[in-house]
């Protein structure tokens, strides 16, 4: 089975959305569920298969090609798994919370998935630009989907910032083509360093700004909390789980491939992102903004770990990626359920949460994000700290611990509200589906935490393939000179 289906299937479904919409809301949710589950199985069929290159239309080296290696496969599975869990939530969501435009909602969800999968799979730099636009435009519209004043303002701001970011990326792509005359990633990687010095600096700077805005790096992520607040909580769950990871992969895929130098700068940017975001999260009293800042903080930690270049830290970063994506997905889904039930995402609504399952799910999510032992978060943080210790970056080591303390601050504040004395629990009728979903996702954390030795070899291999550029270039160019 060829990896083209990852993009062809969602596109085909999106183009035919009127047919699916005519069958009603549950059919739309069911179609999304079957589609993402099918892609998850397709991804599973590639596990352990080494690097698969799929040329499109013509043969290398002129062709655009999709590449599945264990690094991109990890992200493909992360994206399709999060999409499957999201469509479960979308299926269980009660009818009265349905918006009017179900069919169009189906289109934007499909193309968000197709865009992020394209970002992870494509090995052609202009093709990446097109996929950045697809992901971008579906994200702008999803942010403004509710058409309220907040949502529209968020949509407009996101469109402008996203357009500026893709403009800088386009400028970098132009300079690359003018210098090397090709869009093929492997050819660019092979003679990237043969370009004159100042041009390399300009390309890396433009690329860093463009992708830095999208990957929410410290100086350029001022826009993120507003967008998360503007969007509906369930959309924010997709943004933090799917889009954040895809752009982090893209940033580091190109970072290692082109052998870009300023590694220390990216690491410090990641650490500073983490500290600033965690501090800002303390001050918030709207759940969406708290989780937005904490997702920026986690992204900062993962970026710092990946930029370190130590195998332990990178494997730990992969653990953290899957763990944080699922945790954020669960948190934002719970916030959207509370939003439907109580109509507000203020922190005090936590006091009204009645159902034990939701409380348990929230507590487990807090614990895994903090990195407590039985959960996957602990394994991830432990490996990352081990990596930093090996590299002797004690400053960063301390910063991670401080960030964990700050994180503990606001998570315990919220946990206090959940189980604290002055609560007035109201009924939160949850369908069986939701109860099973709110147990399934924490179960995955537990699985990651307890059976980590099962995943260690795969994540270790993914971490190795992410940073090995020569292997990528060799397989892609095959016999070509």
């Amino acid at each position: 089975m060829s990896p083209v289906y990852f993009i062809a299937l969602p596109l085909f479904a999106a183009f035919g959305y009127r047919g699916v919409e005519a069958l009603g809301r549950r059919a739309v949710a069911m179609a999304l569920l079957m589609e993402s589950a099918a892609l998850l199985l397709l991804a599973a069929s590639f596990v352990g298969g080494g690097r698969v290159v799929e040329n499109i239309a013509i043969v290398q080296p002129l062709a655009i090609s999709l590449v599945i290696d264990s690094a991109s496969l990890f992200f493909v599975m992360l994206i399709t798994l999060s999409m499957t869990l999201f469509s479960l939530h979308y299926l269980f969501r009660r009818a009265e919370s349905a918006q009017k435009h179900e069919g169009r909602y189906f289109v934007f969800l499909n193309l968000l998935m197709a865009g992020t999968l394209g970002l992870v799979l494509s090995a052609d730099i202009f093709n990446l630009y097109v996929f950045i636009e697809i992901t971008g435009i579906s994200a702008y519209v999803l942010t403004a989907f509710q058409k309220s004043e907040q949502a529209l303002e968020g949509g407009i701001k996101y469109l402008i910032i996203g357009s500026v970011a893709s403009l800088f990326v386009f400028f970098a792509i132009i300079l690359i083509y003018l210098e090397l005359g090709t869009f093929n990633l492997a050819l660019i990687a092979k003679n990237f360093s043969s370009m004159p010095g100042p041009i390399i600096f300009v390309i890396s700077l433009l690329g860093f700004i463009g992708l830095g805005i999208k990957a929410k790096l410290f100086p350029l992520n001022f826009w993120v909390p507003d967008i998360y607040e503007a969007a509906h909580p369930e959309i924010a769950s997709l943004f933090s789980a799917i889009m954040a990871s895809a752009y982090i992969f893209l940033f580091f895929h190109l970072f290692y491939l082109f052998g870009i130098g300023f590694r220390e700068f990216v690491m410090t940017a990641g650490i500073v992102t983490m500290i600033v975001a965690e501090l800002a999260a303390l001050r918030q009293n709207d759940m969406k903004r708290i989780f937005a800042y904490s997702s920026i903080g986690q992204a900062g930690l993962v970026i710092a770990a990946l930029a370190l270049g130590n195998p332990h830290a990178t494997t730990g970063a992969f653990f953290l990626l899957i763990n944080n994506a699922l945790a954020k997905l669960l948190l934002f889904i719970i916030v959207s359920v509370l939003f439907y039930r109580f109509g507000s995402t203020h922190i005090d609504t936590l006091k009204k949460v009645g159902s034990k399952v939701t409380v348990a799910a929230l507590l487990m999510a807090f614990l895994t994000l903090l990195g407590m032992p039985p959960f996957g978060g602990f394994v991830g943080k432990f490996l990352v700290l081990e990596g930093f210790a090996e590299k002797g970056a004690y400053m960063a080591f301390g910063a991670i611990l401080v960030a964990a303390l700050i994180e503990a601050g606001y998570y315990f504040k919220m946990a206090g509200m959940l189980v604290g004395p002055n609560r007035s629990p109201e009924t939160l009728p949850l369908s069986i589906g939701y109860r099973s979903l709110f147990l399934l996702i924490p179960g995955l954390f537990l699985l990651l935490g307890i059976a980590f030795f099962l995943f260690l070899p795969y994540f270790g291999e993914s971490a190795a393939t992410l940073s090995d550029a020569q292997g990528f270039v060799a397989t892609l160019l095959g016999g070509v000179k």
Binding site: F126, I137, Y140, I156, K157, V164, I174
Partner: protein, 131 residues
């Protein structure tokens, strides 16, 4: 005197300098517009000006005036003396994408105006931290 000015202007070195300085100037004007003006339509126009500047920059440097357009006609049978079609295909795609972003931006602005009567970024205050 006028004769050698024209030939000097046509030499590849000066042509490249003209294209780079001219398109960067246009890019700068768009960038200035983006930062200085806060009305949504002005910002969309500045974004589009920056994009046209990039297209002119890319095509100006990627095309060779002595070669012809990459279209086979009855007069042109071989491809040696033809320009590179790949940048043209890329810019064609980018122009259509800029149309998509522009029409989406405009409908955002219309809907926002119909709902709040504002069309200026500086007046937007629905988001952000509230005590």
């Amino acid at each position: 005197m006028f004769e050698n000015l024209l030939t000097w202007l046509d030499s590849p070195q000066t042509l490249q300098a003209i294209v780079v300085t001219g398109s960067l100037l246009l890019f700068g004007i768009g960038f200035y517009g983006l930062l200085a003006y806060t009305r949504i339509i002005k910002i969309l126009i500045s974004l589009s000006i920056m994009e046209s500047a990039l297209f002119v920059f890319f095509l100006g440097l990627a095309s060779d005036p002595h070669k012809t357009a990459p279209i086979l006609g009855d007069l042109f049978k071989n491809f040696e003396k033809m320009n590179d079609p790949v940048p043209q295909a890329a810019i064609l795609t980018a122009i259509v994408i800029s149309l998509a972003t522009m029409s989406l931006g405009i409908s955002f602005a219309i809907e926002y105006y119909k709902r709040t009567g504002k069309n200026d970024i500086a007046q937007m205050d629905a988001l952000g931290e509230k005590r």
